[in-house]
């Protein structure tokens, strides 16, 4: 039981797909201008990840190794189309704002990565928990980045005014930078820095060592 639960909570911080494996960055940048789009994207990705992992895990013994990627992509793409259609049917405005990014879950490295690395070798229940854990890990980062960007870029959270902006007669000068894609990179970078300062085990080995010459003054 404890082993099974490890699949669930492991990917949330210790093995987070976004901050440790740096997967799914494109969508993390694109949909985090507001918290609501980030939340819908998280729900869509988690649904695809869990159901995809379950299906692939269930038929893993029947998938020929040579064509496994094609089979995996076919299953994931079908699930993404279903998810996209559901969002269009029940939340059309949201699907307009998310534009192509729900469709692009197909190409999200995270989904195929978990299918290939985990669901192909593990039974259904651990695969479902692994999918859920990775979905929640991805969601956690998206919610943090989305909250920061919406709060400081527009002074709102989920559309409710938190910091009244100068355009609405308040005092808060919105940070225009937060609405631009680079800010997501900066927030993500600072987040990774924070996590790796607290958990140094996640720090990667250096690519280059800087040599210090002992006879040289002032480094």
């Amino acid at each position: 039981m404890r082993q099974a639960l490890r699949h669930l909570y492991g990917p949330i911080i210790d093995n987070n797909p976004v901050t440790l494996q740096i997967l799914g960055i494109c969508s993390a940048l694109a949909v985090t201008t507001s918290l609501s789009t980030a939340l819908v994207m998280c729900a869509a990705l988690t649904a695809v990840l869990v159901s995809g992992n379950i299906m692939i895990s269930a038929i893993r013994a029947h998938i020929p190794t040579t064509i496994r990627l094609i089979v995996q992509i076919t299953i994931i793409a079908s699930l993404v189309i279903v998810t996209d259609q559901i969002i269009q049917a029940f939340a059309f405005e949201m699907s307009e704002r998310l534009s192509i990014f729900v469709g692009l879950i197909v190409t999200n490295c995270l989904v195929l990565g978990r299918a290939e690395a985990f669901a192909m070798h593990n039974p259904v229940v651990p695969s479902a928990l692994d999918g859920l854990g990775n979905g929640l890990g991805y969601s956690l980062i998206l919610v943090i980045v989305g909250s920061i960007r919406e709060l400081f870029g527009a002074g709102t959270l989920l559309g409710f005014t938190i910091l009244p902006t100068i355009y609405g007669g308040g005092w808060f000068v919105p940070l225009n930078l937060m609405m631009l894609a680079p800010s997501a990179f900066f927030i993500l970078g600072l987040l990774i820095w924070t996590i790796r300062s607290i958990r140094p085990v996640q720090v990667e080995p250096a690519d280059f060592e800087i040599s210090i010459q002992p006879d040289r003054r002032a480094p």
Binding site: V173, L175, N176, L177, L180, F186, W193, I210, A218, P219
Partner: protein
Amino acid sequence: MIRGLYHRDTVGWLIAAAVLPVLAATVVEQGVPALERMGLTLVVVLVWQAVFLWVRAQPASATALVTAIAVGVLAPGDFAVWQIVLAVSFGTVIGEQIFGGWGRNIINVGVATLAFLYFAFPETLHEGAGPLVAAACIPGALLLLATGILAPAVLLASAVGAGVVTLGLDQNPVELVVNGSLVFGLVFLVCDPVASAATRGGRWVFGLLAGGLIALFAFADAGSDVPHAVVFAALLASLFAPLIDAAVIALSSSLRRRRHG
């Protein structure tokens, strides 16, 4: 640059000394608000340098003064204290300290700070500095040229690049020469010895690119004024500097190999 007297700190202090006349000229031209802005910037940069000195043993640098004066000259808008603190913290931490301190950075701290200010607070309007600041840059530029810190090739090439593009756009180059923001940005941001190209051929390419971009941004885009133009040109050009250097080194080593077999 690493032998004898010319170590990192000498170079840093010489650049800081070269920028002092600009400090005086800016205070004369813009008055007390500029002095407050520069003082605040200097304090914030020094606090971050002290933090990284304490935590990571990264040596501090006198070039904090260049950042402070860059904010004074090129961001003459009406900023709140927290806006300056945020922008300078961003510029000095993300632009320099995380790379290991001054000398290992890819872009100039002043450029990073100003780009953040321009992007984050586009409501604030800026006016370019006048001919007094432009004249005050000359003694500093001569000092840096004489001590070999400022590469003549970069300065010359960027002047040529700016002039050619200005004439190509059918504008008057004299407008650029008397503009204090542009001359300051050219001497202290574009020609920053750390962020600009360092190979002999690379310096010409880098200078032409930076100068051309300045003129292009200043004249072709009506929404952009000279402080914006010079900062974004310096930002873009310094991002290309490592690529330019790598290309020049690859080219010269392949030529050597062909010549010597």
